[in-house]
C-alpha cells in the first residue's frame, strides 16, 4: 500500500535540546497508526511539527507526495491534516454547532459581496455545511446538543466535539493527541469504536495514546519514540514483542 504520510529524517531542535532526532516512518493510507513512547519522548512535538505548530529544523514531510514540512498551521489544515489537542482546545464562547462549523472553514467560498447580499452561493453553502455539521455531531454521539454552549459540555463530550470539528475539515489525515486521556474503560471503548468508524470512512488516523491495551487492539502499525529517537516501527504485534521496546517503555520486568 502507498503511504499517505511520509516522514524522512525529521529533526527538531529547541534551543540546543533535540526534541526529535532524525525520525523517519511512513503512515499507510487508511491505516490507524499509533505513536507510543514514554513522557518526553517527542510524541506531541511530532504532532505539532506535522501541523505547523513547531518549527522543523531539518528533514522532510510529505502528504500524498506533497511537501508539507514547515508550512504554517492553517496551511497544514488546508492541505488536509486535522488534529485534536492533548489539552482540549474548544471555542468556549461558541455553541457546539458553531464550534463544528469552524472546522468547515476551509470549504467556504462566498466572498464579501455574496455575504452582504446573502447571495444564493452564500446561503447554499452555509446550509450545506450546517447539515454536514449536524451529521458529524450525530456521528460522534452529540445528537441534540448542537445549541448547547461548548464550554458547558462534559469532559467526554468535549473530546467528542473536538473530533467532530476536526472531521468537518474533511481531512485526509486525522491526528489524535491522547484522545482518551482521563477517561474510564467504558468511555475509552466508545472512543475506540468511534476511531474505527472514522477510519472506515477513509480517513487515515495517527494516534498518540498511553493505554497500551487500547493501542494493541486499535493500531495496525506503531512507531515507538524514545528520547526523541525512533526506537521501533512496524506491525503492532511485532513491535510490542521487541525486547528493546519492552525495556524502554513497558519496563524491564515485563
Amino acid at each position: 500500500m502507498r503511504p499517505l504520510l511520509s516522514i524522512q529524517d525529521l529533526t527538531i531542535v529547541y534551543g540546543g535540546l533535540v526534541a526529535l532526532g532524525s525520525v523517519s516512518f511512513d503512515v499507510d493510507e487508511r491505516a490507524i497508526h499509533g505513536v507510543i513512547g514514554p513522557n518526553g519522548a517527542g510524541k506531541s512535538t511530532l504532532v505539532n511539527a506535522l501541523t505547523g505548530f513547531a518549527p522543523i529544523s531539518s528533514g522532510t514531510v510529505t502528504l500524498a507526495d506533497r511537501h508539507i514540512g514547515g508550512i504554517p498551521a492553517h496551511a497544514a489544515a488546508a492541505a488536509g491534516i486535522a488534529r485534536t489537542f492533548q489539552n482540549i482546545r474548544l471555542f468556549a464562547g461558541m455553541t457546539v454547532l458553531e464550534n463544528t462549523l469552524v472546522g468547515a472553514h476551509r470549504h467556504f467560498r462566498a466572498r464579501l459581496p455574496h455575504l452582504l447580499l446573502r447571495a444564493a452561493t452564500a446561503r447554499g453553502e452555509e446550509k450545506r455545511w450546517r447539515e454536514r455539521a449536524m451529521g458529524e455531531l450525530d456521528f460522534v454521539g452529540l445528537t441534540g446538543q448542537a445549541q448547547a454552549s461548548a464550554g458547558a459540555l462534559s469532559y467526554g463530550h468535549q473530546r467528542r466535539l473536538e473530533i467532530a470539528r476536526a472531521l468537518l475539515l474533511e481531512p485526509a489525515l486525522l491526528l489524535l493527541d491522547e484522545p482518551m486521556a482521563g477517561m474510564n474503560a467504558a468511555e475509552k471503548e466508545e472512543i475506540e469504536t468511534l476511531i474505527r468508524k472514522v477510519r472506515e470512512r477513509g480517513v487515515t488516523v495517527l494516534i498518540i495514546e498511553h493505554d497500551m491495551q487500547v493501542m494493541r487492539r486499535l493500531c495496525e502499525r506503531v512507531t515507538v519514540l524514545h528520547h526523541g529517537r525512533r526506537l521501533a516501527d512496524g506491525a503492532t504485534a511485532e513491535v510490542f514483542a521487541e525486547t528493546a521496546v519492552q525495556e524502554a517503555y513497558l519496563g524491564r520486568s515485563s
Binding site: 498551521a73 492553517h74 471555542f91 468556549a92 461558541m94 455553541t95 462549523l101 472553514h105 446550509k127 476536526a166
Partner: protein
C-alpha cells in the same frame, strides 16, 4: 557644544525620572504580567499629594483646606508612602480578583482604574494646575559647568535620588529573602506558591514598591517642571512604559537603561530635528512601535513575554467571575436580552421603529442632540466591538479611524473644494453620501495598514502598539497645520442635505444617524453570521485552535481591523457633517478609552451592547448634570464610570447585555 551639553544635562535629568517610573512598570509586569496603566495616575497623585503637604492650605473639592506646610524633604516621603498604599489597595480591589481571568480583564481594569484616579484627582484638586512651591534646595543658585551649561542643585538631587533608589531596589531584590521570593514568583508564580512563597504578599509588595517609585518619579517631575495637573501623568506614564519595553519589560536594569536611552533620543530629537519639539512625543511612540515590531523583548528582556493564554471574557463566563447575588440582580436584564440576541426579526424591526419614532416623540432639540451623540458613540463602539468584542484584540488606537473619516471629508469639502476651487458646499450635497463610503473605505485601508504590524503581537503589547498608533495620528493631526489646520480645527463643514433640502435640524440629523446605524448593523450582521464571524470569534476564544482548523488568523485579524476601521470612517464622516466642526481634541486616547468602556459596559461581542452602553452612559452624563454634586464636580461622573468598569470586570465581565449573544450562522 553649549547646546549639546545643555541637552545632555536635560536628557539625563529626564532619563532619571523616566527610569524610576519605568521600574514601576517593569517590577509589576515581572511579577504579575500586567501592564498597570494606572502608574501614570499614581505618578500624578505623588506630585499632587507632595505639593499639597508643602502648602499651608489647598483647595480640595472646591473648599479651602488647611495643610501642614511640611518641608520638601518630609512631604516627599510622606506622599510616596501614601501613593504606595493606594497602589496596594488598587491591587487588592481591582487586580487580585482577576488573577486567573483572561488577560483582557485585568488590562481593562487597569485602564478603568486609570480613568477613575484621574477623574477623582480632577474632582479633588480641580482642573487647574497646582504650582510647585519653592523651597530651600530649589532656591540655591545653579552650578555652571564649562561656563555655559546650567545645572541646578535640585537636578543633582534628582539624579542622586534616582541612583540611590535603583541601587537600593537592586540590592533588595538580590540580597533579601523577600526580594528573592519576588524573583521566584516572577519566574513561575505557581511553582513559587507550591514551595511555600507567600505569593499574594510578594505581589502586594511589588505593587507597593512600584507605586512608590511612580510617586517618587511624579514628585521629581513636578518639581522639575514646577507644577502638578490631573492629566500630567498620562504622557510620562506612556514614556515610562516605552522605556520599560525598550529596556525589556520585567528587567529592572533594563528599565533604568531604557529610561536613559529614551530620554536621550527624545531630547536630542527635539533639539536637532526640524520641527522636532512639536513631534517629540511622536518620536517616542515611533520608537515604541518599531521596538514592538522588531524586538519586542527590548534590549535586556526575554522574548517569551509576548504571549497570551487562550480564553475570552465572553467564553470563560462563570469560570472566575463571582456572580452570586450580583448575578441574580441581572436576571431580568438577561431574560430581556436573551430574546433580543436570538435575532428575532420582529424584535429588531420593533427596535428600529422605536428608534425612528423617538425622533417624533421627543420634541426637545437638546435631547435630540443627546440622541445623536448616543447613535454616534454607539456606532463607534460597534466598530471597536468588531475588533475587541468579536475578535478579542484590545485596540487603543481606534479613534484614529474616526479621525481619518472626519478629516477626509472636512479637508475635501472645505480646504480643497471650497478654498482651492471655490465650489460651494451646498452645490455638491451628494458628495456627503459618496464620502460616507469613501471615508469608510479609506479608514478600512488605514485599519489594515496599522493592523499589519500588530499581527504578531498579543495581549498587552498589542494594546500598547495600537495606543502608539492612535497617539501618532492625533499628534500629526495637531501639528501638520497645512493639512489639518492643527488645533484650530476645521469649521463650516456643511450639514447633510438631500436634493437641496437641508437636513440640519437635530431631528433630521438623528434620523440620518439611525438610518446609518441600521444600515451598518445590517451589513455587519451578514458578515458576522457567516464563516467570517465564526473565524473572528474562534480567534478570540482560542487562536491556536482556530489556526489548526484552517483559519488564516493573520488575514482574519486584518479583516476585523478593516471592518472596524470602516465603521470608524463612516461615523467620522457623519460626525464631521453633523457637528460642522472638527478638531484634534475629539480624537484623544481618553475618547478611545471611553468608547472601549461603552463596549465593555454594554456587552462585548453583541450587536446591541455598544448601543446599550452608549445610551446608558450618555443619558447618565446628562441626568447627572441635575445633581448639585455633579454640577460642582463634573469629573466625578467619569470616576464613577471607572469604578463601575472595575466592578463589571470583577462581577460581570461580559457586560449588561451579555445574553444578547449573536448567533454565528444564518439559520436558526
Amino acid at each position: 557644544m553649549d547646546f549639546f551639553g545643555q541637552l545632555l544635562v536635560n536628557a539625563i535629568m529626564l532619563g532619571a525620572i523616566y527610569s524610576l517610573a519605568a521600574i514601576a512598570y517593569s517590577l509589576v509586569y515581572g511579577v504579575v504580567q500586567l501592564v498597570n496603566f494606572a502608574f501614570g495616575e499614581l505618578f500624578m497623585l505623588g506630585a499632587f499629594i507632595c505639593i499639597s503637604l508643602m502648602l499651608p492650605s489647598v483647595r480640595l473639592f472646591g473648599l479651602e483646606a488647611p495643610m501642614p506646610a511640611l518641608p520638601f524633604l518630609l512631604a516627599a516621603p510622606v506622599s510616596i508612602a501614601v501613593v504606595a498604599a493606594i497602589g496596594v489597595v488598587v491591587e487588592r480591589l481591582a487586580y487580585k480578583p482577576l488573577r486567573n481571568a483572561p488577560r483582557l480583564a485585568p488590562l481593562i481594569a487597569a485602564i478603568a482604574v486609570s480613568v477613575l484616579l484621574q477623574s477623582l484627582a480632577q474632582s479633588v484638586w480641580g482642573a487647574e494646575e497646582l504650582s510647585f512651591p519653592s523651597f530651600a534646595l530649589s532656591d540655591l543658585p545653579p552650578i555652571i559647568l564649562f561656563d555655559s551649561i546650567y545645572v541646578s542643585v535640585m537636578e543633582i538631587v534628582v539624579l542622586i535620588t534616582a541612583l540611590v533608589s535603583m541601587l537600593g531596589l537592586t540590592l533588595f531584590v538580590r540580597r533579601t529573602r523577600m526580594g528573592r521570593a519576588m524573583t521566584a514568583a516572577a519566574e513561575d508564580r505557581e511553582a513559587a506558591y507550591l514551595v511555600g512563597i507567600p505569593v499574594n504578599r510578594v505581589i502586594a509588595l511589588a505593587f507597593l514598591i512600584g507605586s512608590g517609585f511612580a510617586a517618587l518619579a511624579g514628585v521629581l517631575y513636578a518639581q522639575a517642571y514646577g507644577f502638578a495637573h490631573p492629566t500630567m501623568g498620562f504622557l510620562p506614564g506612556l514614556k515610562a512604559l516605552t522605556a520599560a519595553v525598550l529596556g525589556g519589560i520585567g528587567s529592572i536594569p533594563g528599565a533604568a537603561l531604557g529610561g536613559m536611552v529614551l530620554a536621550v533620543i527624545e531630547t536630542f530629537g527635539a533639539g536637532y530635528l526640524p520641527n522636532g519639539s512639536a513631534y517629540r512625543d511622536a518620536i517616542s511612540f515611533a520608537i515604541l512601535i518599531l521596538l514592538l515590531m522588531f524586538r519586542p523583548q527590548g534590549l535586556l528582556g526575554r522574548p517569551e513575554l509576548n504571549d497570551m493564554p487562550a480564553g475570552s471574557l465572553v467564553g470563560m463566563l462563570g469560570q472566575y467571575a463571582r456572580a452570586g447575588g450580583v448575578g441574580r440582580l441581572f436576571a431580568p436584564i438577561d431574560r430581556l436580552f436573551e430574546r433580543m440576541g436570538a435575532g428575532s426579526l420582529v424584535l429588531n424591526v420593533a427596535l428600529f421603529c422605536t428608534a425612528l419614532a423617538l425622533a417624533f416623540i421627543i420634541t426637545n432639540d437638546f435631547w435630540l442632540r443627546i440622541l445623536i451623540f448616543v447613535v454616534t458613540y454607539g456606532l463607534l463602539a460597534s466598530g471597536l466591538n468588531i475588533v475587541v468584542g468579536f475578535t478579542g484584540l484590545l485596540d487603543l488606537g481606534f479613534v484614529a479611524f474616526w479621525a481619518v473619516g472626519s478629516y477626509f471629508t472636512s479637508i475635501l469639502f472645505i480646504l480643497v473644494l471650497k478654498n482651492q476651487f471655490g465650489v460651494a458646499p451646498t452645490d455638491i450635497w451628494w458628495l456627503f453620501y459618496v464620502n460616507l463610503i469613501a471615508g469608510g473605505v479609506l479608514a478600512a485601508g488605514a485599519g489594515m495598514l496599522l493592523g499589519y504590524p500588530t499581527l504578531r503581537l498579543r495581549g498587552d503589547y498589542l494594546a500598547i502598539m495600537t495606543l502608539g498608533f492612535g497617539e501618532i495620528v492625533r499628534i500629526v493631526a495637531t501639528n501638520w497645520i497645512d493639512l489639518t489646520r492643527g488645533p484650530m480645527g476645521i469649521r463650516g463643514i456643511p450639514t447633510p442635505s438631500l436634493f437641496g433640502y437641508p437636513l440640519n435640524d437635530p431631528r433630521h440629523l438623528y434620523l440620518v444617524g439611525v438610518l446609518l446605524a441600521a444600515a451598518l448593523l445590517f451589513l455587519l450582521s451578514r458578515v458576522v453570521r457567516s464563516y467570517v464571524g465564526r473565524a473572528w470569534v474562534a480567534i478570540r476564544e482560542n487562536e491556536s485552535a482556530a489556526e489548526a482548523m484552517g483559519v488564516h488568523t493573520a488575514r482574519y485579524k486584518l479583516y476585523a481591523y478593516a471592518s472596524g476601521g470602516f465603521f470608524g470612517g463612516v461615523v467620522g464622516v457623519f460626525f464631521a457633517h453633523s457637528q460642522q466642526y472638527i478638531s484634534p481634541l475629539s480624537f484623544t486616547l481618553f475618547e478611545n478609552i471611553l468608547i472601549l468602556m461603552l463596549v465593555v459596559l454594554g456587552g462585548l461581542g453583541t450587536f446591541i451592547g455598544p448601543f446599550v452602553g452608549a445610551l446608558f452612559w450618555i443619558v447618565f452624563l446628562q441626568v447627572a448634570q441635575g445633581f448639585s454634586l455633579f454640577q460642582a464636580m463634573p469629573e466625578l461622573r467619569y470616576a464613577l464610570l471607572g469604578a463601575l468598569l472595575v466592578a463589571l470586570m470583577v462581577f460581570r465581565p461580559q457586560g449588561l447585555s451579555a445574553r444578547a449573544r449573536v448567533p454565528l450562522s444564518i439559520e436558526k
